[in-house]
């Protein structure tokens, strides 16, 4: 069984990524590749919906970090949804919850792009 699969879906102006499994140094290229495909299509409103994500190591967090400036410079954002407790804990340990907007559900993350386009780091 593959350790990671990443499904994608487009909903109006938002690209949804669904990583399923584990993101670590072994699987991160697949995750990076799916993000890059969105950027290549100049789609900068991205929701990473993590309901199927069991585990993320620094390689996966680095993949998000490596593109966030490009995404925000182009008026978009990467927003995170539906984290399990393990992954949320990892995000908080690294302080990613201060750098990315995190939503309890995918729907809330999608709707946040209709709020008027606020991008960048979350409000305290």
């Amino acid at each position: 069984m593959s350790e990671l699969s990443v499904d994608t879906r487009e909903l109006e102006e938002v690209v949804l990524l669904y990583p399923h499994g584990f993101i670590n140094a072994h699987t991160v290229r697949l995750f990076e590749g799916e993000i890059q495909k969105a950027l290549d299509r100049r789609q900068y409103n991205i929701v990473v919906s993590c309901g199927g994500l069991k585990y993320i190591a620094s390689a996966g967090l680095g993949a998000l970090m490596g593109v966030i400036e490009e995404v925000r410079t182009n008026g978009g954002d990467i927003r995170i949804a539906d984290l399990n407790e393990t992954v949320r804990n990892i995000f908080e340990i690294l302080g990613f919850n201060h750098l990315y907007r995190i939503f309890p559900s995918e729907l809330e993350a999608i709707l946040s792009f209709r709020e008027g386009g606020e991008t960048g780091t979350p409000r305290a």
Binding site: E3, F22, N24, A25, H26, Y55, A57, S58, A59, L61, G62, A63, M65, G66, V67, I68, E69, E70, E85, T86, N89, I90, I93, L94, G95, F96, H98, L99, T121
Partner: protein, 152 residues
Amino acid sequence: MRRAPRPGLVLRVPSRTEFLALVRDVTRRMAEVAGFDPAQAEPLALAVDEAVTNVIEHAYAGAGDRAIELRYWDEADDLRIDVVDDGATVDPRSIPQVDLERYASERRTGGLGMHLMARIMDSVTFRRAARRNVCCLVKRKPAALPAGGRRP
């Protein structure tokens, strides 16, 4: 004559990232055997994943034909894991401190793994022993924590 203490488990894996899932599973189980609950064991497995990834990427520069040894010590108050390699010695002081805002603006991603290890474990130390590099990760057991003590 007192015998030197021996690790409870020794695992030797090739220096390839496809073995990270195995390392993670073994570490999580060892942590549970040592008394950590599953939610506490998961970050420990992540810290060891990061240590092994560091060895593959830095000490062995991506070479997949080397070996990494993991020694698990289930001690009275601590779980200790030694990650041992015979590759290039990497000075942990050369790894930059993580500043997320600056990282994002400079598109940098290095150092996150070391930062995670330090935040998860109670102690992360590096030493040379018998011409090998030893990264020693220590986590105090839950029962050994004082009331209100630090947890993962």
